[in-house]
Each structure stands twice: as C-alpha cells, then as structure tokens.
C-alpha cells in the first residue's frame, strides 16, 4: 500500500478506475462470463463471507456472526478497514482481509449494504420482564444521571441507523450485541477518535449490557428497515465514524 503514502493522486485515480470497473462488471457480468470462468459478479467474489454471514449477508444460525445486509455502506467499510488493519480483532476476519485493497473493500461494503433479505423473526427472550423493561428504558431514554445516551439518539428512532456510518441495531442476536458492548467496554473493540461507542459503553454495567442487548433482540422488523439519510437528525456528541 505504498500508493497511499506516496501518490495519493494515483490512488484516487485507481479508485475511480476501479469504481468504473465495478459498474462495468455489474452490467456486463452476464455477457462476459464464459463456462470456464466463475461468474463475474460480487456475489461470486464474496462467497468467502457466506458460511458465517449468509448468502446475502442475512446472518446464519450462529448467534455471534452478525447480519450485514442493509447496514449503511460506510459502516460496513469502516469495519472492513478495522479488521484489515487488526484494529478490530477477530483472527478469521483479519486473515481474510489482510491483503485486499481499499476499493475492493468498498465494493464489498456496497454489495452487502444493497442486499435486503427480510429481517428475521425476533427470538423469544430468555430474560425477565423487569430486565427487558430496564433495557427498553436505556435504549429509548438513556440515563442522563449516568451519562448514558439513548440508543435511539444515534441509531435512529426506528433503530435502523443513519447513512453513512451508523449501523442499524435490528436483526442482531442478544449474544452478539452483548459481546460487542463487552468489547467496547474492555477496549478490545475500538474505532476512530472520538470513539463514541467506547464512551457510551464505558458507562454501562454488566446488567445494563444484558438488559439492552436482550431488549434490542426482541424488536420486530419495522416497515422500512433502511438506514435514514445522512443528517436526518443531529448526533448528541461527536463520533469519529460519522463525520459531520
């Protein structure tokens, strides 16, 4: 990746060229392929992702592998960059992405962002009603006394996220959400400064994490699961992953 440091202009030109190529690949794919070549499509190129994330990024039965489909492309791209550099640690992901260039990761992010398989039926919760009520309160109102903002204040009133960098929180299982919040709390998951989720998670207790993860996992699919456009609402505080 010398180009990033020594020739940004060349890198930008390459990105533009690649973006054009990606478009060509998408339109010409059907005619360009021959029997002896794999399909010239993104779907064929991301088959390595599917055992864990599903054919269209809908997720699989393993609760720790998240749904990717329909999340904002900017969010997915940031995660791909973080896995590639090792900032976000999960060795099987770090390994797969290590030598893939930025424009390709962008194309992968766009691919999964543009897929819209239906959201799964929420699974019945294993926690008590009181715990769910605590989770709902934190997610929808936060706890100003403990400096905890409501999830909805950034992830949107419908929890569907906002373009380009804030993910929706629907279609994820409680174990996954809880593991990620744990990762933020213990510093094993980090993001660009100011690392807003680190600040939020740092104020949560174990009980808060259990409650909010459980409640989020019970949410039914909204009529429109798409992330809202950039700038639909103002964020309560700065976030490195969502530049203004």
């Amino acid at each position: 990746m010398f180009a990033r440091y020594t020739a940004p202009a060349v890198a930008i030109a390459a990105i533009t060229a690649l973006a054009t190529m990606a478009v060509l690949a998408a339109t010409d794919g059907a005619t360009a392929q021959t029997v002896n070549q794999p399909p010239d499509t993104m779907a064929a190129r991301v088959e390595a992702c599917t055992p864990c994330h599903g054919n269209k990024g809908e997720g699989t039965s393993d609760v720790y592998f998240p749904r990717l489909a329909g999340k904002p492309a900017g969010y997915l791209y940031n995660q791909l960059l973080a896995f590639r550099s090792g900032r976000r640690k999960y060795p099987p992901m770090n390994y797969l992405l290590e030598f893939l260039p930025d424009p390709y990761l962008e194309a992968m992010a766009e691919y999964f962002a543009s897929e819209h398989p239906p959201l799964p039926q929420p699974a019945p919760s294993e926690v008590s009603k009181d715990v769910l009520a605590h989770g709902e309160l934190l997610a929808t109102s936060g706890d100003a006394g403990r400096n905890i903002p409501a999830c909805v204040s950034c992830h949107g009133p419908g929890l569907t996220g906002m373009q380009p960098g804030i993910p929706g929180l629907l279609g994820l299982r409680a174990n996954y959400i809880s593991a990620q919040l744990g990762g933020w709390r213990y510093g094993t998951r980090t993001a660009k400064s100011p690392d807003c989720m680190q600040l939020v998670a740092g104020h949560l207790t174990e009980a808060d994490v259990t409650a909010v993860a459980a409640w989020l996992a019970t949410r039914p699919a909204p009529s429109n699961p798409a992330p809202v456009p950039k700038g639909t609402y103002a964020l309560p505080f700065g976030c490195g992953s969502q530049p203004n």
């Binding site: 010398f2 070549q37 794999p38 190129r45 390595a48 060795p91 797969l96 030598f99 260039p101 424009p103």
Partner: protein
C-alpha cells in the same frame, strides 16, 4: 554597443539556462535514483516489517514473533533522533552487507542481511537515497522482548559463523544475463530463502538446504521447496504461469495464499515485466526433477480408504461447485486441485489450512478484485476435514498421502495473522 550589450545579455541568459539545465539534470538524476530506490525497496519488501499496522510508513514498531521472543522492527525514516537521519550511505551499506549497525553492533538475523549481503553498492545507495527522501517520523524504537539466553546479542556471533557468508552476488558467467538478474533478485533483495529454506533449531539455514522448503516458524504455513517439482518447483510451469503468479497472485496452475499473498501484495506486484520474467527464468531453472514420492502413509490402509470415501462425499457437497468434479477448477480464479503441487506435497499443512480458514489471494494491480475461498472450520468436523483433504490429495492422479483427523485438529489453533 547595443550589439555588445545584447551579446552580453544573451550570454548571461545562456549561462543561466545552462545552470538551470544542469540543476534540472542533477535533480532528475537524484529523482531517478530515488525512484529506483523506491522500486528496489519494494523488491526487498522493506515495508512488510518496517511499517506497523496503521503505523506511519517505515516508522517500525511492528512486533515480529520469533521462536526466541518478540522482536520490534526499527524506524528507518530519516528522523535524526529515532530513525536513520544521522546515517551515511556507508553506514547503510554496512548494515545491509554485513549485518552490523554503524557502531559495529550486531543485528538480529530476523533482518534478512544474509540475503541483503548480495545487494550491490549502487542498489544499496539508491535504497538509502529513497529512505532519505521520505517523511521523517519521530518514533522511538521499542526494545526487543527476547528470552534468556537469546537476549544476549553476542550469541549472534555464533549464528553468523554457522549461517552467514558475507559477499555481493557473483553472476554465473555460464548463465544468461536474464537468469543472473533473476538469481540476484531471488537470492538478494527478494530474500526468498528466509521462508523457502528449512529453518533449523538455531534459526538458520545452511547453504546446502537453500530453497528446499520448510515450515515457517510461528506462522505454521509450509513454504514449499522451490527446487523440487514435487513441491513448488516450477520446472514444468510455463514462464507465463510463473510471471502471472508472481505479479497478480493468480495463475492457471495455482494461487498464492497466506504469507506468499503478503509478498505478492507488498512487493512482487510492483516489479516490472523484465524483472518478473528474470525471476521466473531463474526459478524455473533451479527446479530439479525429483523421483516420484514414495506413496507411504502413516495411516493404516483401512482407515485411509474410509477417509477417502467420506472425503468424496464432503467434496461433492462442498467443493465441487467451484473446483469441479474432476478437480479441474475454473482457473485462474478458482484454482485447479488436480495436478496441483501445493496439495500433493509431503506436508499437508497448507491444504488443511486452506480448508479450515479459506482465504483471499492478494488484491493486485493485475487482479484487483480476487475471488475468495470460504473457511470451513465452522462447518466441517476434524474427521471431515481430514477426509476431504485425503480425498483431494489422492484423487484424479494426485500423488499425495491421506492425513489424519488429529493433523486437522492441530491446525485449528494455528495463528491466522
């Protein structure tokens, strides 16, 4: 008078022009040397070690795990305090050529000076000129964390006696200029022998074992022999297939994954066609025909045949859609498995790891959006992994041997990065 004046003016102008062109020529020449140095630094893959993930270019600080402890790479930017800003071209050459710091201190052989010693003075100077031209970064080197007794640098003297022979590359007059250029790149800056030679318990490679393959310590990938056609010997490959593999990461014969993907990504994809071809000519030339491997397996015959029959079922269900029912693949993107040397080698480490972890070839200028192989670690049991690897190693005329579920299990914990 007017005439004289204009002559005088003209000559001043000419002088100025001459001075300008000389300066421009000098600048061009310096620019050329820096550009050549950058090219050579890529050929030497300096960045693989001297740039940390998310770190500044060549500021060092990357942790290199070794069997003897962790080594942290050094800052080679021109920062005078923490980098090599105070070094001279002589100092730099001494480091590359003799494996010694400017003060005479011994360098750990994680730095491939046993290969870099073959680099010419002119090439060393060009790399140095390039390193002087990049942005200085003030970042202190981290001390190494080596276990006793390896924290004693004097031990390096013993290693040097056993494994280091200092000296620039000597062309073989009996071979072509192209072969010699390839040999210079492979044996020198390319430092291919660092992985493709067996590493003994002392962390060294003896001359007689050069390019004979070996398990890369700490990474648990097998770097195949470059001389045996039973491994990655390229004796029966076409020059085009070899250059494709080196430049783009994929070819009609096979695809690079793991540590070799890194080498293609950081280094080989940037080499020009002439140098790539020279390396291919040399690599094809050093391959020795080997006798067919003894088809012996540590497994009892009954277990082997059970594995292979289960393996066919696993293969037809999970693998055949890309690699074909006869292992023919759809090369270059979906590699063939029939007559694929990397599957048939004595060591089954690489095919087992590919089934467990999958992988992407590197994204390169020639192949910017590579196709990936899915990881099967979560889908297949140890027994199924062993079965399918046994099957592909023995089907379609492949001459490998079956592997056990235990071998598959052991590689589940192999480091992935």
């Amino acid at each position: 008078m007017g005439f004289k004046l204009s002559i005088k003016l003209l000559s001043v102008k000419l002088l100025a022009l001459a001075a300008f062109t000389t300066a421009a020529a000098a600048q061009d020449k310096t620019g050329d040397i820096i550009a050549r140095g950058e090219y050579l630094a890529r050929a030497g893959d300096c960045t693989a070690c001297h740039t940390a993930p998310e770190g500044r270019l060549f500021a060092g600080g990357r942790a290199m795990p070794t069997p003897f402890g962790t080594i942290y790479t050094s800052n080679i930017t021109p920062d005078p305090e923490t980098g090599i800003g105070k070094w001279s071209a002589d100092d730099f050459y001494k480091t590359m050529h003799s494996g010694r710091f400017p003060d005479g201190g011994l360098i750990y052989p994680a730095m491939p000076f046993a290969s870099y010693t073959k680099v010419t003075r002119a090439d060393s100077d060009a790399i140095f000129a390039y390193l002087r031209s990049i942005a200085p970064v003030n970042q202190k080197n981290k001390p190494h964390e080596l276990r006793f007794p390896y924290d004693n640098r004097q031990l390096i003297l013993g290693w040097r006696t056993l494994f280091f022979s200092e000296g620039e590359f000597k062309p073989d007059p009996k071979k072509s200029a192209e072969w010699n250029r390839g040999a210079y790149l492979v044996e020198g800056l390319g430092h291919c022998g660092m992985c493709h030679s067996p590493i003994n318990a002392l962390g060294g490679t003896s001359q007689s074992d050069a390019f004979k393959g070996g398990l890369i310590p700490m990474q648990n990938w097998y770097a195949p022999s470059l001389t045996s056609n039973r491994e990655a010997g390229l004796g029966d490959w076409s020059i085009k297939d070899i250059t494709d593999l080196l430049q783009t990461g994929v070819s009609m014969r096979g695809v690079v994954y793991g540590p070799m993907a890194e080498v293609v990504h950081n280094s080989l994809q940037y080499l020009n066609d002439e140098d790539t071809r020279a390396m291919a000519v040399y690599l094809k030339g050093i391959a020795e025909p080997s006798p067919p491997p003894a088809a012996s397996s540590a497994l009892p015959t009954s277990e082997s045949s059970l594995l292979i029959s289960l393996g066919k079922t696993v293969y037809d269900k999970n693998c055949a859609s890309c690699h074909g029912t006869q292992g023919e693949g759809k090369p270059p993107h979906w590699p063939p498995l029939a007559n694929n040397q990397s599957i048939e080698m004595q060591s089954a480490v690489n095919p087992i790891r590919m089934v467990l972890n999958g992988g992407y070839p590197p994204g390169t200028k020639g192949n910017p959006m590579p196709y990936g192989m899915p990881p099967f670690a979560g889908l297949l049991s140890d027994n199924e992994v062993a079965a399918v690897v046994s099957y592909i190693r023995t089907a379609w005329g492949n001459r490998g041997t079956p592997v056990s579920a235990r071998e598959a299990n052991e590689l589940r914990s192999a480091p992935l990065n």
